[in-house]
């Protein structure tokens, strides 16, 4: 991971071209209870192992990507467009 991220649109690109936001978390429904919003904004599973993060290819195609990777080994399992599979 990280030195070269395989962008699904641009191919392998160096870390410098990306900006990381953090965990991929579905945004709660507008009418979700406030506790759900608090958890969404503040709480993180933070596992030592497989994790999905939002990375932005800010120096490339400017797409938001879902990077599935291992936080212990830095192995990248998959990189997909964030919009993929969404309605």
């Amino acid at each position: 991971m990280a030195s070269l991220i395989p962008c699904p649109h641009c191919g392998p690109r160096p870390k410098e071209e990306f900006t990381v936001r953090g965990a991929v978390l579905p945004r709660p429904a507008a009418d979700a209870p406030v506790e759900e919003w608090q958890a969404h904004v503040y709480l993180r599973e933070n596992p030592r192992g497989d994790y999905a993060e939002h990375w932005h290819h800010s120096g490339g195609c400017r797409r938001w990507l879902v990077v599935k990777r291992n936080t212990a080994t830095h192995a990248v399992h998959s990189v997909t467009d964030a919009a993929e599979g969404r309605p």
């Binding site: 070269l4 649109h9 641009c10 191919g11 392998p12 690109r13 160096p14 410098e16 071209e17 290819h57 120096g59 490339g60 195609c61 400017r62 797409r63 467009d81 919009a83």
Partner: protein, 179 residues
């Protein structure tokens, strides 16, 4: 009040030109005319065919990301006409003044580019484009020939890019010239 036409000033009007560095001319840097540069944005799920058909000239369409292209170079028709022709699938954002294009050509052009971008140029086909970083600068990189490339950069950074290319090209004896 201006009785005369307003005239545009090219971003690289005062850029350095001449020969720099070691003898030889491994690479030539040329400022390209600021004639046309439109960004096309496709509505998600739109078939790109009409847009692809719209282009003309050498590599006039540069893919810069999913659903996004730059339409570059000399062409006929105004943006409004093109927009009308391409609606509603595509929106056009005029970037003619927003980005400045330069070309790099010569046997050392690829080596020079490798000093800034991690794109594997051996895999970039003629006509292919990549949105990437050159050092700290975002560029749209396109291959226009076996040893020829074109770079588009935000106008505000055009001089910085120009100077950086000359600096990195000294090793190859770079020639820099206006369009």
């Amino acid at each position: 009040m201006p009785d005369t036409l307003l005239t545009a000033r090219p971003a690289l009007a005062n850029a350095a030109t001449g020969h720099f560095g070691l003898p030889g001319a491994g690479v030539t840097l040329t400022a390209l005319p600021e004639d046309r540069l439109w960004q096309a944005l496709a509505r998600p799920g739109t078939d790109p065919a009409p847009l692809l058909a719209y282009g003309a000239g050498p590599c006039p369409l540069r893919s810069i990301g999913p659903g996004q292209w730059l339409i570059v170079g000399v062409g006929t028709g105004t943006l409004a006409e093109a927009q009308a022709a391409l609606a509603p699938g595509f929106a056009l954002s005029d970037q003619t003044h927003g980005r400045v294009r330069v070309s790099l050509s010569g046997p050392s052009a690829a080596d020079l580019l490798a000093k800034g971008t991690a794109v594997n140029l051996a895999l970039l086909p003629e006509g292919g484009a990549a949105q990437t970083l050159f050092g700290h600068l975002g560029i749209t990189l396109a291959r226009t020939g076996p040893e020829a490339f074109e770079l588009a950069v935000l106008r505000g950074f055009a001089l910085s890019l120009w100077d950086e290319l000359i600096l990195l090209g000294r090793e190859y004896g770079i020639g820099a010239r206006a369009a």
